[in-house]
Symmetry: C2
DNA sequence: CTTGACCTTGTAGTTACTACAAGGTGCATA
DNA sequence: TATGCACCTTGTAGTAACTACAAGGTCAAG
């Protein structure tokens, strides 16, 4: 699979894919005789993962950490455990925030369909008292 | 409430708060006699909202749109409805992805606590077939 | 054998901050 | 009264994570 195909399949710019390779986010692809990058299905899966994780607000550093979990055979279980705990906490917090936002958007939709403007509590949906 | 206090309360740099004001994300604060910015509880709520939304992967443009929903009295219901539908779709997709990631992280934690290294499917958790 | 879509490396621009610097004001406290 | 800290302004520059463009090479279709 060449870079353009991979780009299309993932909605990523070819430039961004090469950037990920430079940054070590995506492993370097094999090269064809004419020096073109030749991607595998694993590359595809990793890139989809990276793009989703980025869209969910994870930094590159966090994405790197998450990817590193993939080959945790060589690391002590305790370290992996700690990292996973930390990521899990962040994921759970994000889900809570998004669910709250979802509730509010659904509420707005209902009141809009009823054709009467209800109070909009969208800011409050995320700005409720800190946990 | 002065800028330093607001910064502390929200974990935002004072520079960033002034930047948000320049960008029109945060309404300009009142000024004291000595020209200090004087923030209200609404400012606080808005800033918490902005920071959370940004952490959830929304762009500044999307945050602007979401904030605009707060004063939708002056806009036709149909427009608001469309925007809300769109945002709702994105929020729902994010929740699905995060839930999938959460499942995988929890699975890793269990297998780690059992002190045997299980297969890591973290990439697959987000890279499953596109919907 | 040319056209156009692809590929390469490299540089520069964009977004959303973040950090200084320089120079000034406000205000509590030793 | 002096010290020191938080704040004000404008401005420049750095960072992260892309994104675009330039200059030139490769390749399959018509």
């Amino acid at each position: 699979m060449r870079i353009g195909e991979l780009a299309k399949a993932t909605g990523t710019k070819a430039e961004t894919i090469r950037y990920y390779e430079r940054e070590g986010i995506l492993p370097a692809a094999d090269r064809t005789d004419s020096n073109y990058r030749d991607y595998s299905d694993e590359h595809l899966a990793t890139l989809i993962f990276v793009r989703r994780a980025r869209a969910l607000g994870f930094t590159m550093a966090q994405v790197r950490e998450l990817l590193a979990l993939s080959d945790h055979e060589d690391k002590p279980c305790r370290d992996v455990d700690q990292l996973v705990q930390r990521q899990l906490g962040e994921v759970t917090r994000k889900i809570a925030d998004l669910t709250s936002l979802q509730d509010e958007l659904q509420h707005m939709l209902r009141s809009c369909q009823a054709d009467r403007i209800g109070e909009c509590r969208i800011v409050e949906s995320l700005a409720r008292p800190l946990r």
